[in-house]
C-alpha cells in the first residue's frame, strides 16, 4: 500500500493554511523591522492562497485557482510599490524600525 497514493485529508491543508496565516499575523504584530513585517503580509496572503487552492481542488472548481492568480498578481504589485516606499522611507529616516516611524511629517 503506497502511502503517497492515499489522498492527503482536507483538514491537513486547512490546518497548514491557518498555521501560515497565524504565523503571518503574529509576525506582523511583533516584528519591528519593516521588511520582516512586509514578509509577514506575504505569508498571510499565501496562507489564504493555500486554502483557496485546497477548496478548488476539493470541489473541482477552477474559480479558486483563478482567484489565487489574482492574489499573486496583486501581491506582486504590492511588493513592488511597498518596497519602493520602504526604500524611500529608509533614505529619509535611515531606519526601518516601525516604532520609530510614527510621524507622517518629516
Amino acid at each position: 500500500m503506497n502511502l503517497f497514493a492515499q489522498e492527503v485529508p482536507l483538514s491537513w491543508y486547512l490546518l497548514l493554511s491557518a498555521a501560515l496565516f497565524s504565523l503571518g499575523v503574529v509576525g506582523f504584530l511583533i516584528k519591528r523591522n519593516l521588511i520582516t513585517i512586509f514578509m509577514s503580509i506575504e505569508l498571510m496572503l499565501n496562507g489564504v492562497n493555500l486554502s483557496f487552492v485546497t477548496f478548488a481542488h476539493q470541489w473541482h472548481q477552477v474559480k479558486g485557482q483563478i482567484f489565487v492568480f489574482f492574489v499573486m498578481m496583486v501581491a506582486a504589485a504590492e511588493a513592488a510599490v511597498g518596497l519602493a516606499i520602504i526604500i524611500a522611507i529608509f533614505r529619509v529616516r535611515a531606519t526601518l524600525a516601525v516604532d520609530r516611524i510614527d510621524r507622517m511629517k518629516l
Binding site: V25, F28, L29, I30, R32, I37, V98, D99, I101, D102, R103, M104
Partner: protein, 669 residues
C-alpha cells in the same frame, strides 16, 4: 358681457413700473423714469375707469336720483380667480379678486389720487438723488394697495395689507441717512406688527369657525341667525386691533405722526389718502361680522370717537405743519371708525373718499409750502405767504374749508352724514354725535390756525427765496381742489344707494340732504344737524381768528396761563413716553438681561460650550489611539477581526445565559 375684466392688470401695471424703475432706474435717463412712473398708475387708472364703465353705463350713473339700488351691467360682486393658492385638508384658498361697488370706489380713489400724487411728485422730488428709487417704491405701494382693495378673500387682503406696510416703511425711511427717518420707519413697522397680530388671529379664528376666508362665503354663512356674539365678537375685536394699527387709531396711532419723516407726497398718498384708510375698508368689507356683534360695533364707535377727539386736541398746539395734518388725519380716521361703529359703513366710506381728496390736497399744499420755503416746516417761521404762494394759498383755503365742513365743500356732506348717522343711533349714538361735534369745532380751529399762521399775518422768518411751485405740482393741487369742492355733491343718499349691495343698507339715509329745500319753514332733523355743524365750524373759525389774527399774542398768554394743560397737549399727552416706559423699556430690559444674558449667554452659550467641552475631552482621550505606531494599529486591527469572528461564530444562544448568570452572581445575588 361675460368676458374677463382683466382685473389682474390693475395691480400688475404698477408692479411692472416698480420692476422697471427698481431694477433699471438708476441707469435710465430721468425722463424715462418719469414716463414709466407716471404711465403705470395712469394705465391702472384707465383700467379702473374702463371697468367702471363696463359695470355701469354712464346713463345708469346719471339716473341715481331715485335712491333705489343701482342696476349693474355685470352681476356684482364679480369674482375672478387666478388659481388655487393653498390646499390643506378641508381648507381651500384661491388667489381671487373681487369686484363690487365697494372695491370699485376704493380703486377709483387709490389709482386716481395715486396718479395725481405721482404727477405732483415729479416736481417735488425733481432734485432728489433717489428719484428712481422713490418712484419704484411709490409704484410698489400702488401694487399692494390695489391687491388689498381687490382681494377676494382675507388672505389675499393680508398680502396687500403687509405689502402696503412694507411700502410705507420704505417710504417713511426714504431719507434713511437721517436717523429720525429710519427710526420712524421702524416704529411704523413695529406698531403695525401689533395690529397685524390681531388680524392674523382673526384669520385663524375665521378658518377655525367658518372654514373659509372668502368674503362672500363668510357673509353667506353669517346669514344664519345662529351666529351672534361670542366668537364673532372675538373675531371682530381682533380685526379691530388690526384696523386700529393700520388706520392709526387709539391705542396704536403713535406711528402716524412720526411717519411724517417721509417725503410730503408720501404723507399725502399713503399716510392720509389711501393706506391708512385700509382699516376702514377692512371693517366695511367684513361688515357682516361686525353687524353680528353689537358689542364689537360699539367698541369700534368708541375707539373712533375717542381717537377723533384725542388727536384733535393734540393737533391744536402742534407747530410742525405736517404734524398738524397728521393729527388731523388721525382725527378724521376716527370719524370714519365712528361711522362704522354705528353701522353706517357707506357714510364711513363716503368720508373716506372725500377725506382722501381734501387731505391729499392739504398735504400736497403743505408740501408746496415746504418746497417753496426750502424745507421749512415750522409754522412759527411762516406767515404772510399768501402773497408769494397765491395758488397754494387758494387751494389750501379750499382744503381748510372742506375739512372744517363748510357748506358746498366735500367735507360738509360726508361729516354730516356721519354725525347724522350717529345721532339717530340711540343714546350711545348721541354721545358719539356730541364728541364728533366737539371734534368738528377743534378741527375747524386748528385748521384755521394753520391757515392763519402759514399764509396770513406778517412774515416771521427768512423768506428771501420763496417761490411758487412748478406746474407739475400745482396742476394736481388744482384738480384736487376742484374735487374737494365738488366731491361731496354726489350726496350720501346716492352714494349709500350705490354701495348698498356691498355694505348693506343699514344706513339711515336722510330723506333729502341735497339740494336743501327751503320751500317750507319746518326744518327736518338732518337740516337742523347740518346747520348746527356749520355753526360749530364757524365758531372754530371765529376762535382761530381771534387768537391768530386779532390778538396774535394771546395764544402765548393762554399757554402761560394754563402751563399744565399746554404742556400736556404739546407733549402729545406723553403717550410716546408712556409707551416707552411701560412697553419699550421693560422689553429692552427683558431682552437684554433675561434673553440676552440668561438665555443667550447662559443657556444657549452654555449648551454650545458644553458640547464643545465634551468633544474636546473625548478628542483628548481618543487622540491617544492615533499614536502613529504601526504595530498598535495592527494590534487593533487584529483585535477587531478577532472580535468580529467571535461575534459571528460563537454559540451565543449558549453563551448569553451563562454571561448574564455570571453578572447576576457577581452583583451579589
Amino acid at each position: 358681457m361675460n368676458s374677463s375684466l382683466h382685473l389682474w392688470l390693475i395691480p400688475l401695471l404698477p408692479f411692472a413700473g416698480f420692476l422697471v424703475n427698481g431694477i433699471l432706474g438708476r441707469r435710465l435717463p430721468k425722463w424715462m423714469v418719469t414716463t414709466v412712473a407716471l404711465l403705470a398708475p395712469l394705465a391702472a387708472f384707465g383700467v379702473v375707469l374702463q371697468t367702471t364703465f363696463r359695470s355701469f353705463t354712464p346713463m345708469e350713473l346719471r339716473s341715481w336720483n331715485d335712491p333705489g339700488p343701482i342696476p349693474a351691467l355685470l352681476s356684482l360682486p364679480r369674482i375672478e380667480t387666478f388659481g388655487n393658492w393653498i390646499n390643506a385638508g378641508a381648507l381651500h384658498i384661491d388667489f381671487s379678486f373681487v369686484l363690487d361697488q365697494l372695491s370699485l370706489v376704493m380703486l377709483l380713489v387709490v389709482t386716481g389720487v395715486g396718479f395725481l400724487i405721482h404727477v405732483y411728485s415729479v416736481g417735488y422730488m425733481s432734485d432728489d438723488e433717489g428719484y428712481a428709487r422713490y418712484f419704484s417704491y411709490l409704484n410698489l405701494f400702488l401694487f399692494f394697495m390695489t391687491v388689498l382693495v381687490l382681494a377676494g378673500n382675507a388672505l389675499v387682503m393680508f398680502v396687500g395689507w403687509e405689502g402696503v406696510g412694507l411700502a410705507s416703511y420704505l417710504l417713511i425711511g426714504f431719507y434713511f441717512q437721517k436717523k429720525s427717518a429710519a427710526d420712524a420707519g421702524k416704529k411704523a413697522f413695529i406698531v403695525n406688527r401689533i395690529g397685524d397680530f390681531g388680524f392674523l388671529i382673526a384669520l385663524f379664528l375665521l378658518i377655525a369657525n367658518f372654514g373659509t376666508l372668502t368674503f362672500t362665503e363668510i357673509a353667506s354663512k353669517l346669514a344664519y341667525p345662529g351666529w351672534q356674539g361670542g366668537v364673532v365678537t372675538v373675531i371682530a375685536l381682533c380685526l379691530l386691533l388690526g384696523a386700529a394699527g393700520k388706520s392709526a387709531q387709539l391705542p396704536l396711532y403713535i406711528w402716524l405722526p412720526d411717519a411724517m419723516e417721509g417725503p410730503t407726497p408720501v404723507s399725502a398718498l399713503i399716510h392720509a389718502a389711501t393706506m391708512v384708510t385700509a382699516g376702514i375698508y377692512m371693517v366695511a368689507r367684513l361688515h357682516p361680522l361686525f353687524d353680528r356683534s353689537p358689542f364689537a360695533l360699539s367698541v369700534v364707535g368708541l375707539v373712533g370717537a375717542a381717537t377723533a377727539l384725542f388727536a384733535a386736541t393734540i393737533g391744536l398746539v402742534q407747530n410742525d405743519i405736517k404734524r398738524v395734518l397728521a393729527y388731523s388725519t388721525i382725527s378724521q380716521l376716527g370719524y370714519m371708525f365712528m361711522a362704522c361703529g354705528v353701522a353706517a359703513y357707506s357714510a364711513g366710506i363716503f368720508h373716506l373718499v372725500t377725506h382722501a381728496l381734501f387731505k391729499a390736497l392739504l398735504f400736497l399744499a403743505a408740501g408746496s409750502v415746504i418746497h417753496g420755503l426750502g424745507g421749512e416746516q415750522d409754522l412759527r417761521k411762516m406767515g404772510g405767504l399768501w402773497r408769494k404762494l397765491p395758488i397754494t394759498f387758494a387751494v389750501t383755503t379750499v382744503g381748510v374749508l372742506a375739512i372744517a365742513g363748510f357748506f358746498p365743500f366735500a367735507g360738509f356732506f360726508s361729516k354730516d352724514a356721519i354725525l347724522y348717522a350717529a345721532f339717530t343711533q340711540g343714546p350711545g349714538g348721541k354721545l358719539l354725535w356730541a364728541v364728533g361735534l366737539f371734534t368738528a369745532l377743534l378741527t375747524s380751529f386748528y385748521m384755521f390756525r394753520l391757515w392763519y399762521l402759514a399764509f396770513l399775518g406778517k412774515p416771521r422768518g427768512e423768506q428771501q427765496h420763496v417761490h411758487e411751485s412748478p406746474w407739475s405740482m400745482l396742476a394736481p393741487l388744482v384738480i384736487l381742489a376742484l374735487l374737494s369742492i365738488s366731491g361731496g355733491w354726489i350726496g350720501i343718499e346716492r352714494f349709500s344707494a350705490f354701495l348698498a349691495p356691498s355694505v348693506g343698507a343699514r344706513v339711515p339715509v336722510p330723506s333729502s340732504l341735497f339740494p336743501v329745500p327751503f320751500t317750507h319753514f319746518h326744518l327736518s332733523l338732518e337740516e337742523l344737524l347740518s346747520i348746527v355743524a356749520v355753526l360749530v365750524a364757524l365758531e372754530g373759525w371765529a376762535i382761530a381768528d381771534k387768537y391768530y389774527r386779532r390778538k396774535p399774542a394771546s395764544p402765548a398768554q393762554l399757554a402761560a396761563a394754563l402751563p399744565g394743560g399746554y404742556k400736556l397737549l404739546a407733549g402729545k399727552y406723553f403717550v410716546d413716553e408712556f409707551y416707552g416706559a411701560v412697553v419699550v423699556k421693560p422689553l429692552i430690559g427683558f431682552s437684554k438681561y433675561i434673553l440676552g444674558w440668561v438665555v443667550d449667554v447662559g443657556i444657549l452659550g452654555g449648551a454650545v460650550w458644553l458640547l464643545g467641552a465634551v468633544a474636546t475631552f473625548a478628542g483628548a482621550i481618543l487622540q491617544r489611539w492615533q499614536s502613529g505606531n504601526l504595530r498598535s494599529y495592527a494590534a487593533w486591527l487584529a483585535a477587531g477581526a478577532a472580535a468580529l469572528l467571535l461575534f459571528v461564530l460563537a454559540p451565543w444562544n449558549a453563551v448569553w445565559p451563562l454571561a448574564i448568570n455570571f453578572i447576576w452572581k457577581v452583583a451579589g445575588h
